[in-house]
Amino acid sequence: MFRFTCPHCGERDVVEFSYGGDASVVVPDLAAGEEAWFDAVYQRDNPRGPHVEYWHHVAGCRQWIRVERDTLTHEILACGPATGRMRPETGGEGA
């Protein structure tokens, strides 16, 4: 189990959120060409360790947030709004 610190609502359980995938993917310019779009749509680094990802606070404020989470330990390393700065998690067991 883990909890996120939603930047709008505070600490909330994972069941309130829906996963939005790898947040390191940058949507390319429409004219960027096939290679850039192939990378963005299909290719993933899929790290075993810290992973920056989007979550949707569906059962809360309905805002998208950005989370840094360790995919091996499920430790939450940082949370923040989808487009702003992430704040490191402090205290608590996190994972």
């Binding site: 189990m1 883990f2 994972v14 069941v15 829906s18 996963y19 995938g21 790898d22 192939f38 990378d39 749509v41 299909y42 290719q43 993933r44 680094d45 899929n46 075993r48 992973h51 990802e53 989470r69 995919t71 091996l72 330990t73 499920h74």
Partner: protein, 418 residues
């Protein structure tokens, strides 16, 4: 290697069954092989077995970082089926199912393959229409499929909730009678014994830490037990395919996700075949030891943790109760999770990579266990001939770039949704 038979058991009875030897050797790695298979799970072992048996390549090694079958081979819910609709998947999984049907005899090892049937339940008329379509597609591809009405489902699995208060009333279902279950550990052990007897070196506790790639061609691997040369190397490490491929500089259309599985305390015979709930993602069967083996959906986020979380356990409990309330007081004995390679179209990737001599077998999503013999069979062909068999031709890595998805569910390029 001694052949297992009833006579060997009887003869051993005269000496207190002390005649049993090791089922496979524990060799030191040689400095060079004709081919190396990375990953000592079912797929890697099957690949080595068929390379040696059908393609005459016996100077090969299987490298396993842990112990045989300690990954997803021993973590699945043991279901074998080929009820796929799309051509590429249908031909591949049906080929695999046919290999299952002869596997115990072929290996001289009882993999306990039991064709007890796989039934997908329908809870609406629309779902029955969809199953009729799938069943017809299967039959056109020579795969067995039977559309059952409510009464036929009741006869097949009377423990399901057929009462008036069922939350999702059962309308019917699609049955594949030739589907079933197998003993997953025995599959790894039987394939290991078979490959070893043909001369394959199975090397455990040997983790690949890097590739030797020169001029776009693979020349060998670095491992925790030294460098090993080979000009043909196959990766069969599903769950961690992205990690091993990254050692060769490859980025793949794969995300790793958690899938949980559960087993209850042992019961008397209770449910005969494999039953899947149609109003949610839940499937259940009963093992030969009597435990109810069940599972459902992914936890839903990238993970390598090999352990699941509680929300999904609660969700599965609710689905199980909606389907068969009689399990309500049965205690759950164990639960665990495996790391799934979730590909971008929900179908596996078996074929060549941009690096010469390096072959990829991964992206198994939920479908790895049932594919074990078929996967090894086509992967061995691909490695031996440096080109895919027609059966795995459409399951290549290049399909993502070319836009030839094999998306059974039509979910699009979101790995967690397949």
């Amino acid at each position: 290697m001694s052949r297992y038979s009833v006579f060997s058991v009887l003869k051993g009875g005269l000496t207190g069954q002390t005649h049993w030897g090791r089922a496979w050797r524990d060799p030191e790695p040689k400095p060079e092989y004709d081919a190396i298979i990375i990953g000592g799970g079912g797929h890697g072992l099957a690949t080595a077995y068929y390379l040696a048996k059908l393609h005459g390549m016996t100077n090969i090694a299987v490298l396993e970082k842990g112990w045989l079958g300690g990954g997803n081979t021993g973590r699945n819910t043991t279901i074998v089926r080929s009820n796929y609709m799309l051509e590429a998947n249908a031909h591949f999984y049906e080929h695999s199912l046919k290999l299952w049907e002869g596997l115990s005899v072929d290996l001289n090892y009882n993999v306990m393959f039991s064709q007890r049937g796989v039934l997908n339940l329908a809870h609406s008329d629309a779902q029955m229409d969809a199953y009729a379509r799938r069943g017809n597609a299967m039959r056109l591809n020579g795969i067995d499929a039977e559309l059952l009405d409510r009464e036929q489902v009741r006869r097949y699995a009377p423990v399901l909730d057929f009462s008036d208060s069922a939350r999702f009333p059962i309308v019917g279902g699609l049955l594949q009678p030739r589907g079933g279950t197998a003993r997953h550990d025995a599959v790894a052990w039987g394939l290991a014994r078979g490959a070893d007897s043909l001369g394959v070196d199975i090397i455990q506790n040997c983790e690949v830490t890097g590739f030797d790639i020169q001029g776009g061609a693979v020349k060998g691997v670095q491992t925790t037990r030294g460098a090993i040369k080979a000009e043909k190397i196959g990766m069969a490490v599903a769950g961690h395919t992205s990690q091993v491929a990254a050692l060769a500089g490859l980025t793949l259309p794969i995300e790793s996700h958690l899938l949980q599985a559960f087993v209850s305390e042992p019961l008397k015979p209770f449910i005969d075949g494999v039953v899947t709930f149609g109003a949610g993602h839940f499937y259940i069967s009963q093992s030969d030891k009597g435990g109810l083996v069940f599972g459902g959906d992914l936890d839903g986020y990238n993970s390598y943790a090999q352990r699941g979380n509680l929300p999904l356990i609660e969700h599965l409990g609710e689905e199980g109760m909606a389907l068969m309330p009689s399990i309500g007081r049965i205690r759950m004995l164990r639960h665990w999770a495996g790391v799934m390679d979730m590909s971008m179209d929900g179908s596996p990737i078996i074929g060549k990579t941009p690096i010469k001599g390096l072959y990829l077998n991964g992206g198994w999503c939920y479908g790895g266990f049932k594919a074990t013999p078929g996967s090894g069979w086509v992967f061995a062909h691909t490695i031996a001939h440096d080109e895919p068999h027609w059966i795995n031709r459409d399951l290549d890595l290049a399909r993502f770039r070319d836009g030839r998805m094999v998306d059974e569910r039509g979910a699009g390029p979101i790995p967690g949704h397949h």
